[in-house]
Amino acid sequence: MRVLAAMSGGVDSAVAAARAVDAGHDVVGVHLALSAKPGTLRTGSRGCCTIEDSHDARRAADILGIPFYIWDFAERFTEEVVETFVGEYAAGRTPNPCVTCNEKIKFEALLEKAMALGFDAVATGHYARLSVVDGVPELRRSADSGKDQSYVLASLTAEQLSHAMFPLGDSWKTDVRAEAEQRGLSVANKPDSHDICFIPDGDTKKFLENRLGQRPGELVDAETGAVLGRHTGVHGFTVGQRKGLGIDAPAPDGRPRYVLSLEPVSGSVKVGSAAGLGVKVIEADRAIWPSGRPLTEPTECVVQVRAHGGIVDAVADVDSDTMTVHLREPLRGVAPGQVVVLYRPDAEGGDIVLGSAKISGTH
């Protein structure tokens, strides 16, 4: 096969590309330039999207002996990922930009370009297991449960997955690093990337305020309706947040307060005790079926509501594009805008992704 290896400059994508080469594929490495402001974001190495990272990716491609190119996707990335991210916060939701990037950039814009240019598949360094059973793609959690990234890939359609390759799905991260070392890849000891790549200093609140300005509103006690203080915009808050609420007076019962909900139209941020955070029912829309097989009846499953943690047994009740998910136990900090992923447990081969949808409401 002709395989396009998306190379971020990190250790995972370098080893993924190496394995694609070993598997006998005709591999070309491509680094995506995603930053609209090269002078600011492309300074220093952060594990993806900087000048140093593109250099690291190039050196890895040199060692693998594959052609390497840098493609400028900065405008598309700004439109699809950054502007969506800002818009979601402005609407009082909590987006996951990595999900959007996989869905709209790596496995849409990049995949489409790759296919048009004659490639058969796009390979990435994601930790997830992907196989095709009877012509149907099956996406599972990775062998290394600590690194599993099936959550951020669960918004890919069967069509997208049928042209994806995740060569690291069966591996543990420590083994991948050792393999990079053994292959002579200089990125073997490069730290993992963590923060949101387009917010290099990690200060999401400041980033959003620069884009959205101040949108003052009130902090309201969810039970009594009393105004507890003022804030500079709902985009500074996430459901479940405890720190940085800016309320002077302690709660009457002395227990910590949390953000329970955000109302962008009125600008209200509702706060209350941890008891008010427990979610039993999730409403979600924009359902996606990575296997291409929609659920048609209430289904016992395990759900995950954020990239790390937030896993619980549930029953999903699907109505075409929307679903109601009844949780067996209450979950805290379920934020509208995040993705709920439904898994069928499989301890042996890795939990299988059944579907995903975007959380629109909770109660």
Partner: protein, 398 residues
């Protein structure tokens, strides 16, 4: 391999390789006083005379440098500083809008750090600066002009500026003109004295010499503040131990390329015109940039509507055909060409361009290779479209 990127760098000429190889096995600092030093010095001075002779300059006007970028920096900064020191009101730099980044970025640096004011000289649809545009820019306030800088031939599209006419306009106002002739030497007749330019940049590796060596031809009456201070070599304008083997090879390449220029230009121009004909036949809507008027014999620069330059480049590379999308930044990201933008192209079109540049090793076989692949490559690249751009822009393109 079909190498059609000679404007980026061209293989060394056999004469240059022979001269360099011989010089590499000798010892001697050209500034030393003993016999090894004198021998090295003699090799440098003979090289200087060779270059001066080939380009209509006096030997004392040849300043050896580390290449084109250094020569451009030395000329633009050095002459600006000298002229500004003489008279403080001289702070304007008149600069062609389609100059190489070695000039543009230098001028911008002077604006940011030394109080210079940039007057960009608009280019026409072919990329040329007209004498009228230059005259108007000067006339708005002649006393404040420090210098003008306009390239002899454009590195991307290959069009040639009327340097002698531009220099004549400058001379009316006693303004020094610098010209970056990196692409011109060895390709078109270049006579420094006849041109009237005050300073002229050339570099080794574009004309069959080695990397890392070049020269600034600097008129004897032109004052230029040095960038590099030290041992006082090169009339104290450019200190630093002279790279004897590189200078000797550079001179051999200048001598050979200038001596064989007429024959070379005729041969390459015929090949290039054949390439243009073939591309127009295979891709009827391809747009030739800088195709009108006087131009280099080697360049064929096309815009392929609806294609991304990086797609075209990758597909051709996979077929063994090497060309360029124009200017690339350090990260290797293809930027929309500032040359095409200055010529009036829209940014999306500027991204869908390729430069084919021929050189002394090009043959008809190279042209046949392009003929066999270009149609299929463009069709495929068109399917891929402009994936990295905003969706809005992509829709407009369709």
């Amino acid at each position: 391999m079909t190498y059609l990127d000679h404007a980026a760098t061209t293989p060394m000429l056999p004469e240059a390789i022979a001269a360099m190889t011989e010089a590499l096995s000798t010892v001697g600092n050209a500034s030393a006083l003993h016999s090894s030093g004198r021998r090295a010095r003699r090799m440098v001075e003979e090289a200087r005379e060779t270059i001066a002779d080939a380009l209509g300059a006096r030997p004392s006007e040849v300043i050896f440098t580390g290449g084109g970028t250094e020569s451009d920096n030395l000329a633009v900064k050095g002459i600006y500083w000298a002229r500004h020191d003489e008279q403080e009101r001289r702070r304007r730099i008149l600069c062609g809008a389609a100059e190489h980044h070695a000039v543009l970025d230098t001028v911008e640096w002077l604006e940011a750090h030394c109080g210079a004011e940039i007057t960009l000289l608009d280019v026409d649809s072919q990329g040329r600066v007209s004498p009228d545009v230059l005259r108007a820019a000067i006339a708005s306030d002649p006393e404040t002009v420090a210098l003008a800088t306009v390239m002899w031939a454009n590195n991307e599209v290959g069009t040639i500026n009327p340097i002698a006419e531009l220099a004549a306009v400058c001379a009316e106002f006693d303004i020094p003109l610098h010209t970056d002739a990196v692409q011109a030497v060895g390709a078109v007749p270049v006579d420094f004295a006849a041109s009237g330019a005050a300073a002229l940049t050339l570099t080794g590796h574009k004309l069959g010499g080695p990397f890392g060596v070049g020269a600034l031809l600097l008129g004897r009456d032109v004052t230029c503040v040095p960038l590099l201070h030290g041992g006082g070599q090169e009339r104290s304008v450019r200190s630093g131990t002279l790279d004897v083997p590189a200078i000797v090879a550079f001179a051999a390449a200048v001598r050979t390329s200038v001596a064989t220029r007429a024959e070379y230009a005729k041969r390459v121009e015929e090949l290039r015109d054949g390439l243009i004909e073939i591309i127009r036949r295979e891709v009827p809507d391809a747009v030739l940039n800088g195709g009108e008027g006087e131009r280099l014999p080697s360049h064929a620069h096309f815009t392929f509507p609806g294609c991304a330059g990086d797609s075209l480049l990758m597909l051709l590379d996979a077929k063994g055909i090497e060309c360029s999308t124009g200017s690339a930044c350090t990260a290797g990201v293809a930027q929309p060409s500032h040359v095409l933008l200055a010529m009036g192209a829209d940014p999306a079109a500027a991204r869908g361009s390729l430069r084919f540049s021929l050189g002394h090793t090009s043959t008809a076989v190279d042209i046949e290779a392009v003929a066999a692949e270009i149609g299929g490559v463009v069709t495929r690249a068109r399917q891929a479209g402009l994936a990295g751009m905003r969706k809005q822009i992509q829709k407009q393109e369709v």
